[in-house]
């Protein structure tokens, strides 16, 4: 019998160190407003991290200025500061809360930058606060391109040849060495802002000058061009015991030269051999070690020369990023949660993989499917910008799809984008590319653009070889061949006509029903007959991190056409929530917030929840937000298939914005129960005539209006209702193509802009009639969010806009409680809201926009669905409106919810003022006029809370990233109608010690009111040229309101100059007054910070 030594004691097994007990409170810094390059992925990551840290016993303090986030819900962190993410405000929070540690790696570039800024002030040492997740040295080494390059070279990792410069002269010397084309990259920027590829000296000088200005440290890197190389990204996690894993590899379909956020990307990498992949893996891990990222997630980007395999490292981010969100959704590995736990001392092998529950997180996910991410653009909103993709990110959102193969995933991703496409051509909209001649296609595919994928596929379909198309596009031949394969299947399927075999082939290649109807020339019923008589059925597979090696516990599904389905048996009490798809201007994180709240509320009420969405950045697509997650396109076909599998009791469509609303009718027709307000009511609110009839019936005032189906009719309507008028095509979201016209000439210009020049001037608008409203000048706009249960109305909030009616509500600031409305007006608003709630038979949410002129209350529009302001008003009042509405939609009454404590017994009375301010993407589109108008262009929003409106607005402005001056010089130029307010503005500024520059007319007017100004010349004339003054940093604030909607002339040049030089520029008089007041208030109030929980406690709501 062999002798056995005593059973191994745990000291022989070197056990990982347990979590840190020397820290107990942690400040998490969020990422602030949604901007291009930094979107709701940081809400997803922050929410995950906060949940994980609290579950492990830490007190979590959060700073984030963005109210539309789940992470800022008061029940997530222990103390939530909705304050600007600027060094002074974060420092004020640090001093108040005295956390043991700061975790800056989950709030994007914003959190890293503010942490670096605070580090320089010495406040961390002074207060004894440790920065965890990534050390300051590591952040610096990763962010500073010069340092990064040195560290990489020291570790034998190849980088692009480059020179690091701080002046144009140095840059020119550098480019003389490297040659053209040359890449310019400013240091410390997010989303590639300011970077560009220069092909000649002229472009080079422009990009360098702009880059030096953009970079907070005024430095740029001049780099050899690697445009056309293949681009890869690895998501790496490292723990304190130096264990490292690659969570996901991502390959860009678009080669180097297109920002990765603007590229179609594929996971896992498709065209790397094992040897190349493993070398890249080794380098990625070596990079983290070299930079000193001790714990957490980082992404490392590589470029590979397709001809030689030469590989260079491009950059790494020592933090959770957009790609980590994508990688988390693509693999099921929760990177942000892990990053948070690793930061407090856990090691990967101590944490269980949530999905299997039985294996550790120290492994690398194996994928048995293909993930494709496609970017969503909104170039139509920015007419000055060419839709050409480059090294600076311009996309405003993204969709992700999962398929068993690349063709399937690609087609699903394209139809997920909601850009009117049903797949990779073969659809109705393919005429956009089939109508082009081959020369045009040849020309177009050379330039990366939002439509290049379709043009490339069409070129292949015309018989141009994969190799030739590769030469034109530099897209890897493997991807091109897969696209050619889609074309071949299309040809086969089209030739075969409707049949089971063709259906199988098409479905397995990702073709949608819409494509099949187009290719076969059949209607819904005929296709349904083919499908019903066939054994080709959709199947669902699980995202399980392990390619089925272990049993998965997490119900995260995608559709495909295979032999075996893993869809669970339908539950007995299931509600399905439809998400809002890819972010776009006008439909952003606010709607995801509402959908997540619906899932939480339904869970609380005992339902099983099923979430359907295709946006990888969101909290809604986290696998533990709902009972089951289907990562699927939001189309009628895809949603009905899930309905078939899940058999829900009802489907929630009113919370995800226009995307699910657009499906409601078809779902209802297919026999699906829509929760809450019926699709007919939603239609009634959208339909001009029905809605007007309703208003007339209830005696509700509307501005004079009419509908036109031709140019002549439009003119008649305008003649009747008077000018100015607001015109727009029916059925639009986010104010697309909406304009205020001040003359009949502007009306014809609008029509030709919208519909193209038509011979004879006549256009047929009968498909989408033109809506024309009298525009109420100088009216105050008011937004109301309410919940109606059929009997009782709960007013969530009455918000007064800062900018007057005419500026899109999504672009204007708004305030609660309303500062200027009389009690009578408020009473009338409530009466009208109640009438409309009844008239529209609302069950759930109702948002109404009013225009108030004097004591007259006009209804502008009513929407029986979630609005953009739901999260803001919920944060302000402490009452979670989306949750309340969801339960009302499922049949509970407000009375019973009051009993259950979901709705407070009394409406909270706010002891503070809250301001929501819009954040606009001007810095991304430098040629764009910054004028606000009826077309929404904001990408995000911030909230400011203060004792007075002035203080709250001052915080909101700072949160939005405006460097509002407290002294200096202001340039004031006002339209005639704004001159009265202008006096008030100038008086305040002058009182605050500002030197005031004004244009001729404005100066005279101000002088008559006793305000001294320096009067300036016209642009391009004299030494007091206002543009020169802005460019020479002589002006700290611009207040410029355009006369009569004219967007040309001096005003535009001044606004552009302000935008380029980051001088705050206000384009409305009311906005100017609010800014002036806020400057005065900020000077008086200092930096008082209060947590949301304390605010709510004072108002008697919340936990």
């Amino acid at each position: 019998m062999p002798k056995s030594y005593s059973t191994v004691s745990s000291d022989r097994l070197a056990l990982p160190v347990p979590k840190r007990t020397d820290i107990s409170s942690i400040l998490v810094i969020g990422s602030g407003p949604i901007v291009i390059g930094q979107a709701c992925e940081f809400d997803y990551s922050g929410t995950q991290a906060i949940k994980a840290l609290r579950e492990h016993g830490y007190r979590v303090i959060l700073v984030n200025s963005n109210p539309a986030t789940i992470m800022t819900d008061p029940e997530f962190a222990d103390a939530t500061y909705i304050e600007p993410i600027t060094a002074p405000f974060v420092e004020a929070v640090l001093r108040k809360e005295r956390p043991d540690a700061v975790l800056p790696t989950l709030g994007g570039q914003t959190a890293l930058n503010v942490t670096m800024e605070l580090a320089k002030t010495g406040v961390f040492e002074e207060l004894g606060i440790e920065v965890i997740g990534a050390s300051l040295e590591a952040i610096e080494a990763a962010e500073d391109r010069g340092k990064f390059k040195k560290v990489m070279e020291a570790h034998g990792i190849v980088t692009a040849r480059s020179h690091y410069v701080t002046s144009l002269d140095e840059a020119l010397t550098a480019v003389a060495d490297l040659g053209y084309p040359a890449m310019v990259r400013p240091s410390y920027i997010l989303g590639g802002g300011g970077t560009g590829l220069a092909h000649d000296e002229g472009a080079f000088i422009d990009i360098v000058n702009h880059g030096i200005e953009t970079s907070p440290v005024s430095e740029v890197l001049i780099e050899e061009s690697i445009a056309g190389w293949k681009e890869f990204e690895l998501e790496v996690m490292r723990d304190g015991a130096d264990n490292a894993v690659i969570v996901c590899s991502i390959e860009n379909l678009d080669p180097m030269g297109v920002h990765t956020g603007d590229s179609i990307t594929v996971a896992p990498a498709m065209t790397l051999s094992d040897r190349e992949y493993q070398e890249m893996r080794d380098e990625a891990i070596a990079c983290l070690r070299a930079i000193g990222v001790e714990t957490g997630g980082s992404n490392v980007q590589f470029a590979v020369d397709p001809l030689t395999g030469k590989r260079i490292i491009i950059e790494m981010n020592p933090r959770v990023s957009r790609s980590s969100a994508l990688a988390s959704k693509a693999t099921g590995f929760p990177i942000a949660k892990m990053a948070a736990l690793l930061a407090v001392g856990y090691t990967l092998d101590e944490i269980a993989n949530d999905i299997t529950g039985a294996t550790p997180a120290s492994f690398e996910p194996a994928l048995d499917y293909v993930v494709v991410k496609a970017p969503r653009f909104d170039f139509a909103k920015f007419p000055s910008v060419e839709p050409v993709l480059g090294t600076a990110m311009q996309s405003v959102g993204e969709a992700m799809s999962i398929g068993r193969t690349f063709p399937e995933a690609l087609q699903k991703a394209l139809r997920s984008l909601e850009t009117g496409r049903d797949g990779l051509n073969g659809d109705r909209a393919e005429v956009e590319v089939t109508s082009l001649d081959i020369d045009e296609l040849n020309k177009r595919v050379r330039v990366a653009s939002p439509t290049r994928i379709y043009e490339t596929a069409e070129l292949l379909r015309r018989g141009v070889s994969v190799d030739e198309v590769h030469d034109l596009t530099a897209i890897d031949p493997w991807f091109l061949d897969q696209m050619a394969w889609i074309n071949e299947v299309r040809a086969d399927v089209q030739a075969a006509g409707p049949s089971s075999d063709a259906l199988r082939q098409a479905k397995r290649t990702g073709f949608s029903d819409a494509q099949l109807r187009h290719l076969w020339g059949v209607g819904h019923d005929e296709l349904a007959a083919v499908k019903n008589s066939s054994d080709v059925k959709v199947t669902y597979k699980t995202v399980d991190t392990c390619a089925a090696e272990f049993e998965a516990r997490t119900p995260y599904f995608y559709s495909t056409y295979e032999e075996d389905s893993e869809a669970p048996a339908p539950g007995t009490k299931t509600v399905m929530v439809l998400g809002s798809g890819p972010n776009r201007i006008g439909q952003g994180i606010e709607f995801d917030y509402c959908c997540v709240h619906a899932a939480f509320a339904l869970g609380d009420a005992g339902y099983e929840t099923v979430m359907v969405n295709c946006n990888p950045e969101t909290v809604s697509t986290d696998y533990d937000t709902s009972t089951r997650l289907y990562f699927e396109p939001l189309t009628v076909e895809d949603v009905l298939a899930i309905v078939d599998a899940e058999r829900p009791h009802a489907v929630v469509v009113q919370l995800g914005g226009q995307t699910p609303l657009g499906l409601a009718k078809a779902l209802e027709q297919a026999g699906v129960t829509i929760a809450g307000t019926s699709p007919d009511s939603i239609d009634m609110a959208e339909d001009r005539e029905q809605f007007s009839a309703l208003c007339a019936r209830y005696g509700i005032k509307q501005p004079p209006h009419g509908t036109a189906t031709s140019a002549a009719e439009a003119q008649d309507v305008v003649d009747e209702i008077g000018l100015p008028a607001l015109v727009r095509p029916s059925y639009v979201l986010g104010g697309r193509a909406m304009r205020i016209i001040y003359s009949i000439e502007e009306l014809s210009r609008y029509l030709s802009d919208l519909y193209g020049a038509v011979p004879g001037g006549e256009v047929d608008l009968s498909d989408a009639p033109l809506l024309i409203d009298r525009f109420l000048e100088s009216a105050i706009e008011v937004d109301v969010d309410a919940v109606f249960d059929g009997d009782e109305l709960y007013i969530g909030g009455i918000m007064e806009h800062v900018e007057e009616a005419g500026v899109h509500s999504g672009d204007s600031a708004c305030v609660v409680p309303p500062p200027t409305l009389s009690d009578e007006v408020i009473a009338q608003v409530i009466v009208d809201t109640r009438k409309l709630a009844e008239g529209l038979d609302v069950k759930g949410l109702l948002n109404i926009q009013f225009a108030i002129r004097g004591e007259d209350v006009f209804v502008l529009e009513a929407n029986p669905r979630a609005s953009r302001t739901i999260p803001f008003i919920s944060k302000a009042t402490g009452v979670p409106l989306a949750k309340v509405a969801t339960r009302v939609m499922l049949g509970e009454s407000l009375a019973s919810l009051r009993e259950a404590g979901v709705v407070p017994a009394e409406r909270p009375s706010l002891s503070f003022t809250a301001v929501k301010e819009a954040v606009l993407p001007w810095s991304r589109f430098p040629g764009e006029d910054t004028l606000l108008g009826p077309e929404m262009r904001a990408t995000g929003e911030v909230m400011g809370i203060g004792e007075t409106m002035g203080v709250a607005y001052a915080k909101a402005l700072r949160g939005a990233g405006h460097s509002v001056p407290d002294s200096g010089a202001a340039f004031v130029s006002l339209a005639d109608r704004d001159k009265t307010v202008g006096v008030e503005i100038a008086a305040i500024l002058s009182e605050m010690g500002f030197k005031i520059y004004a244009t001729h007319g404005t100066a005279g007017h101000l002088a008559r009111h006793g305000i001294a100004t320096t009067h300036v010349d016209k642009v391009g004339e004299g030494i007091y040229d206002p543009v020169r003054l802005v460019e020479d940093d002589k002006i700290d604030l611009v207040i410029n309101t355009p006369a009569g909607g004219k967007a040309r002339g001096d005003g535009r040049l001044i606004r552009l100059a302000a935008s380029h030089h980051a001088v705050p520029c206000v384009t409305t008089a009311q906005g100017g007054l609010a800014v002036a007041n806020s400057i005065r208030a900020a000077a008086a109030s200092g930096l008082d910070v209060t947590s949301l929980q304390d605010h709510h406690a004072a108002a008697g709501v919340g936990r």
């Binding site: 062999p2 065209t271 092998d349 492994f363 194996a366 493997w478 392990c546 049993e551």
Partner: protein, 387 residues
């Protein structure tokens, strides 16, 4: 496109499209979860007699190159994929992988619901299957039902070299040691790893006796990876007993199992094996975790040395899964590595004689390079011994 089919011994049918070579193949079906390295996998002699299912859906994307071959012949029986690429895209590629397989007479299937097949294997264990095109379902079913299982089969004799051969470091480089390697189905990259570290390797047939090896005066002996069940490999096991304590020993995969058997431990068949590039293995001595490349259907039960039952796993494997240090005829044997997915043995070391082995593949090819340091340790240790 020609239809193809896979039928399992328990009668499940999987439909797809024929790829690779025409014909019918049979073998035990195993799935591999690696997302790259299909060519290294198919040419790894350890897959002798097996039908390999790749769980990654696209196979063949970057083509095939002779540089990636792990052996001159392919001993695997067939390849099953969701999508076989018709286009190879890589500067390294010499031909498409489909052509490469066809040229070597390997049957393959594309368009198979490989996830369904993988789940079938996971739930029912590795089992024989028959694969083919131009053949009807019932015929394939009877072939599958009649095929032998791997247990008890000596597959090494089908893959081991007939003749001894030498693999030397590049000309001009310094030779630091001479190692004799037992070819139980050796992968070429193991030789590359040893050669790169200055080791001259004499590769000998699996049946070579200990005395014959010792007569070559090696600085150490290496026991290679290889296919199938270790238990029938009596001559190799006996040879290892003759070598223990007389020369340093290092084993990988099947070599690890042979060393374990030689030390008196038993081996057992895993339900569906470990085949992939993402298995976490803890190094017991320092607690670090390597992500490893794995390919084996059998495992060493080091608990068998103690007479105690191997504990069943409950949650994440901890110290309770480690076999205690145990005295054997060759001194004390210690478990050095632990699989963190299922708590099985991943490595052992003899404390009183110079011998150690691991169940996983430090040479990677395919898979992560995390564990290549083991070759440094091996070469370092024999340098010390021979000095």
């Amino acid at each position: 496109m020609k239809k193809g089919m896979l039928v399992t011994a328990d009668g499940s049918v999987f439909n797809g499209i024929a790829a690779g070579s025409d014909g019918v193949a049979t073998g035990e079906v195993v799935f591999n979860t690696a997302m790259t390295g299909y060519q290294e996998i198919m040419t790894d002699p350890s897959y002798a007699g097996q039908v390999v299912v790749m769980t990654a859906p696209h196979i063949g994307n970057y083509g095939a190159t002779s540089l990636d071959d792990q052996a001159d012949s392919i001993y695997a029986k067939a390849l099953i994929t969701r999508s076989m690429s018709r286009r190879a895209s890589s500067w390294r590629s010499e031909e498409t992988f489909d052509d490469y397989l066809a040229r070597r007479g390997i049957v393959a299937l594309s368009d198979i619901d490989t996830r369904r097949l993988t789940r079938h294997i996971r739930d029912n264990g590795a089992m024989p299957v028959a694969v083919g095109s131009d053949i009807d379902e019932s015929e394939l079913a009877s072939i599958a039902a009649g095929a032998p299982t791997m247990a008890g089969l000596d597959l090494v004799q089908t893959v081991t070299t007939d003749e001894m051969y030498v693999s030397n470091p590049d000309p001009g480089s310094e030779v630091v040691a001479h190692v004799v390697a037992y070819d139980l189905g050796i992968k070429r990259d193991i030789l590359t790893q040893l050669n790169r570290r200055g080791v001259s390797v004499t590769v000998v047939p699996a049946s070579t006796a200990a005395d014959a090896v010792l007569a070559m005066d090696p600085d150490a002996v290496f026991l290679s990876n290889g296919p199938g069940d270790p238990e029938p490999l009596e001559t190799s096991i006996e040879a290892v007993r003759g070598l223990l304590g007389r020369t340093p020993l290092f084993g990988i995969c099947l070599g690890h199992q042979v060393l374990g058997l030689a030390l008196g431990a038993s081996t057992f068949k895993l339900p569906f094996g470990h085949h992939g590039g993402n298995h976490p293995v803890r190094n017991v001595s320092d607690g670090t975790v390597d992500i490893t490349s794995q390919n084996h259907g059998f495992a060493v039960d080091l608990w068998s040395l103690t007479g105690m039952e191997r504990p069943t796993i409950d949650g994440l494997p901890g110290p309770e899964m480690l076999a205690p240090d145990t005295e054997t005829a060759y001194g004390v044997v210690q478990q050095t590595h632990l699989n963190l997915n299922d708590g099985t043995n991943e490595g052992l070391a003899c404390l009183d004689v110079n011998a150690f082995s691991v169940q996983y593949h430090p040479e990677a090819a395919p898979g992560p390079n995390d564990a290549q340091k083991l070759f440094d340790g091996f070469v370092g240790s024999i340098g010390a011994t021979s000095a």
